[in-house]
């Protein structure tokens, strides 16, 4: 379909052409991508140090921090990691997707600067007020726990800035279409980012509706604020905020698969359908946080979590097949056709983006996805609600999945956007594996501790000053130690990432990118060049069957545990 190009002041934008991708890069957009990505990495560093201190506290044998600082840092760690690092990076991703990938310009650099300033101010305000000891309310800030008004104001300012960035994304896409920068459908990666932006709009509006009355209440302008209402509104923000991550992460997975092995989806319609399932249904999954709340009907809980949410899970299952299948087909086309798994053995495991893709998919799907469905099931949720298994689940999704995927993409942004040579390439190759191993141990430690009844957010389950027994079995000391060791290894992996990124950005040679890949300059030579027209992803099919078998086994094991567990109900 021919598209009428309507120039809308494009002459004001200054572009460069990337020598590798041949895409036009608006220099104003490039500056905002760099600013947001840099802020993201700085908040990751700060939140990561806090995470290490927390891990060394929950490891009961070390028990590093006093109680006051433990709760203070739980609050700051939650905000810095779940909000600041992730949303700054997503803002960078939204500008990248809506300008660079569409050969288009940033519609309003001033609005992008204002958005960045609001987000930075909000994030600094929240950190300052929490570290000053005026907001030990943790990430959820449940009413009637009251924080200093500046805490709520900081969150509101950050959300306003993020909302401005989201609106700019839509404006960029709209103007790109008007100016004829693309015709027909947007590329799949941009569609994934659009999914993230759509979910983000509802999320940020919910955040405003939850936090603005809390701000007034903290100032004394509002006499009471119903905790039930707050919890409903807060989780309309808190959980979908992680679904923005999910959509952005899946978009990044497709991008990493394309960059590292040249993969393209075998059925793009199906991939887009999976994103649409996210758009329509994934926000409803927020209800699983309220499964033990009084006042909410069984029908509301059951419909939102056990029916609507599964449609979004179906979307994830589609991606879980589609991405490995695309990788397999691409590698088989390069000649690795023998048996079921030659393509997997000969995959570019040294390439940091490929390593990040695979480790991120395993941690997200096999641990985060399966545990999420279990925790989201009303009856099974009773076993895990408010236990350490819940942080186990979201560390698998947000840290093992999203954070690692974003780390993988960052390595490629350094030559392509920062126009610096990537330093410490060998370290970058190992980083996803070290970080992934650490997160694996931490997640397994958290999940098993939660199964043993260890509560989440608790300073010390064996050192409680209460006069009664805590009823936590002794094996929890071992599972908490495993999570502590995992936290230390993950912190080393995080430090490797920060070292590679900051040293490349600050001291790397200034140069244009020369190839898409970082470690392997070109795709590995295929053993035999053959023309292949039809390739079946048979290896992926087997992996997917194994995943489904694992899913079913763990799911039904939890129903069995529900039946045999001794319940202390009097």
């Amino acid at each position: 379909m021919a598209t009428q190009a309507i120039p809308l002041g494009e002459e004001k934008a200054i572009f460069r052409v990337c020598p590798v991708t041949r895409l036009r890069v608006d220099l104003a957009a490039e500056r905002m991508i760099i600013a947001n990505a840099t802020a993201a990495v700085v908040f990751l560093l700060v939140g990561g140090i806090m995470g290490l201190l927390l891990a060394l506290t929950r490891w009961e044998a070390i028990h590093l921090l006093p109680a006051t600082w433990y709760y203070r840092l739980v609050t700051a760690h939650g905000f810095n990691m779940l909000v600041a690092w992730i949303v700054f990076f997503e803002a960078a991703g939204l500008y990248f997707g809506s300008t660079v990938l569409l050969n288009a310009r940033l519609v309003s650099p001033r609005a992008a600067q204002a958005a960045f300033a609001l987000m930075l101010l909000g994030a600094l305000l929240v950190n300052a007020i929490v570290l000053a000891g005026h907001a030990d309310v943790m990430f959820t800030a449940y009413v009637p726990l009251k924080a200093h008004p500046l805490f709520y104001l900081g969150v509101i300012l950050f959300a306003l800035g993020a909302l401005t960035a989201v609106v700019l994304f839509f404006a960029n896409v709209f103007v790109a279409r008007l100016e004829g920068r693309y015709a027909g459908s947007v590329p799949l990666v941009v569609f994934g980012l659009a999914t993230a932006a759509i979910i983000a709009t509802y999320t940020l509006l919910s955040g405003a509706v939850a936090f603005i009355p809390a701000f007034f209440w903290s100032l004394g302008w509002l006499r009471t604020y119903d905790p039930g209402f707050y919890r409903n509104l807060f989780w309309g923000f808190g959980h979908p905020a992680q679904q923005i991550n999910l959509a952005a992460m899946v978009a990044v997975w497709y991008a990493l698969a394309a960059i590292t092995v040249g993969a393209t989806p075998i059925n793009e319609k199906l991939c887009r359908l999976a994103f649409v399932l996210y758009i329509l249904f994934i926000n409803l999954g927020a209800a699983h946080h309220l499964l033990v709340d009084p006042g909410l009907s069984f029908a509301w809980k059951m419909f939102n979590t056990s029916y609507a949410m599964y449609l979004a899970v179906l979307g994830s299952l589609i991606h879980a097949f589609s991405i490995p299948a695309a990788v397999e087909v691409a590698l088989r086309r390069q000649g690795y056709q023998r048996g079921l798994f030659e393509w997997l053995r000969r995959a570019p495991w040294q390439e940091p983006g490929f390593a990040a893709l695979v480790v991120s998919m395993i941690l997200f799907g096999w641990l985060g996805g399966v545990s999420g469905v279990i925790i989201g099931t009303e009856q099974l949720n009773m076993q895990f609600h408010n236990t350490l298994a819940v942080p186990g689940h979201f560390h698998a999704t947000v840290v093992g999945g999203t954070t690692l995927a974003f780390m993988g993409l960052t390595y490629y942004l350094i030559p392509l956007i920062f126009r610096r040579e990537l330093r410490w390439k060998r370290l970058a190759t190992w980083q996803p594996y070290v970080f992934g191993l650490g997160m694996l141990l931490l997640i397994l430690g958290f999940l098993t501790s939660g199964t043993l009844g260890v509560p989440r957010r608790h300073w010390g389950v064996f050192t409680t000053p209460a006069i009664f027994s805590t009823l936590i079995p002794e094996p929890a000391r071992l599972t908490l130690a495993i999570s502590g060791i995992g936290g230390v290894i993950a912190a080393i992996g995080g430090a490797m990432f920060v070292l590679v990124v900051l040293s490349s950005v600050l001291t790397g040679t200034v140069q244009e990118a020369r190839s898409l890949r970082l470690v392997l300059a070109d795709p590995a030579d295929p053993p035999e060049a053959t023309e292949i027209t039809h390739v079946e992803p048979r290896g992926t099919f087997l992996i997917v069957l194994a995943f489904l078998a694992f899913f079913i086994l763990v799911y039904f094991r939890n129903w069995w545990l529900l039946g045999v567990r001794g319940w202390l109900v009097h």
Binding site: M1, A194, I279
Partner: protein
Amino acid sequence: MEKERMPLGQAIFDELFLLFLLSLIISLILYNVWGLLDLLRTPLLPP
């Protein structure tokens, strides 16, 4: 020149504003409004 026709599914998926509206309406009705109505129906503790 014969006008190229876009399949209906693709046309719907390309309408980001429509998808945005659907997302907002579904979330607001099924999660927020239904949930808040449930809470409003909960009897208050007598003083």
